[in-house]
Every structure is written in C-alpha cells, then in structure tokens.
Amino acid sequence: MPTLPIFPERTGDTTKKNIAPIKLELLVTIVDRKKAEFYADIIQSFEVNFQFLEDARGTAKSEILDYLGLTESEKTVIFSVAREDKVDDIMFALDMRFRSIKGGKGVAVSVPLTSMIGSTVYAFLCNAVGTVNGGAAV
C-alpha cells in the first residue's frame, strides 16, 4: 500500500517552508500522585505515544488543607504530547473523571507546540502509523 511522506519533498524553492500537516500540543495535567498512572493511561488511549511524569507538590498551605479536610499535597505532573485534533477529546475525558472520581480532581491545560525537528520523531509523536514501513519512516 503506498504511503504518503510526512513532509513534501524538498524542491529547489528554498523559500517554501515545511509545514506539519498535523499540529501537536503539549498537555500538562496535574493530579494527585496516587491517581497519576490512572490518568496517564487515559491520555495514552488517545493515540498519545510520548508522556513523562514528574513528581511535584501543591502549594496550598497546611492549614488550608486541614480546613478543607485534605491531606494530599503530593502531586504528579503529566507532560504529554498530543495531536491537536485529539486534545478536545482528551480534555473531555479528563474533565469527566475530574468531576466524578473521588480524590481524582485535577487540572489540565494544553499549550501549542510551534516547532520541532526530525520527521521520524514527528511521526512517532502524532502516531502517523501509515508513514512507517518496516520500522523505517518513509
């Protein structure tokens, strides 16, 4: 089956820029540490191939946590690179769980990526499986 190249072939016209057909966004999700793997799995199910998790802590003062009956300030920040066309679905899925799961509250924001380099990495990040033939990007 013929596959399409991710970027068009370079031509003699050097003024023509390579424009990625699929935009990518960096998703930053902050959740309680105990729920980090759960949320990372949800995000991964939306064709997200690259994520990294970083331990963090919330900045609410201990008296506020006590007042609210909370003990948890240990957080995890999940950084995920997602396709722009999937971000709305991911956000919706996260929002549903933030609202419904006990102890599962969190915050998620998305930031657009403006540049990247490497077509294989780009194909990996946007899960462009149709562009890979026998393990090598074409």
Partner: protein
C-alpha cells in the same frame, strides 16, 4: 473547554524559594501553584561573563492565572525572587489553548 483567557506562569528558582514565589503570586491574585524539582545548568563562560552562579538545585513553580492578572503576578514574582535576589528567579508565561478542572 477551549479557553484562551488563562496563561501558565513558569518560575525557575533556587531550591527553597517556592514559598516566597507563591506568597508574592498570591498577593497579586494567584490561587495556587505546583512545584516540581529540577536541576539547573549553565555554561561556565556565561556564568563568569554575567557574574551569575547557577545553583544546580532548582524548583519550577507552575501557576495558572487569568490573563488579566498575569503581568501583576510576574511583576510580584520579579520583585520578590528576581534574578538579583537570592532566589535567582526567572519567570515567563505561556498562553494555553484549553483548560479543564478549574471550576
């Protein structure tokens, strides 16, 4: 969900100064933040040229704020933990496309 009225402030500071940053940010109207531990690096030549010593132990404070108070929060952070203070803070903000979980 699609929401361009917020910005995410990143503040990179020497380890132990995250509370100072948050106190200043709260004064300017921020609600809360998240602290991640990090490790700083700098070129030796640049350190000598600018007479800045980069401590390797860093913290990154991430604060999501409404766009209309972003400048106030950045200014407050700069005054309390700017590059000329012991915290040696560097703060910047990025626009976010979408947000969930704030309500």
């Amino acid at each position: 969900m699609s929401d361009k009225s917020y910005e995410m402030i990143f503040c990179i500071i020497n380890s132990g100064f995250s509370e100072t940053v948050m106190d200043a940010a709260r004064e300017a109207g921020a609600r809360g933040g998240t602290v991640v531990r990090a490790r700083g690096t700098a070129g030796k030549e640049a350190e000598e040229l600018f007479k800045i010593t980069v401590h390797p132990d860093k913290e990154v404070v991430m604060i999501l704020v409404p766009k209309d108070i972003k400048d106030d929060v950045l200014s407050a952070i700069y005054k309390s933990t700017g590059i000329d203070t012991a915290g040696q803070g560097i703060a910047f903000s990025v626009a976010v496309n979408r947000t969930v979980g704030l309500g």
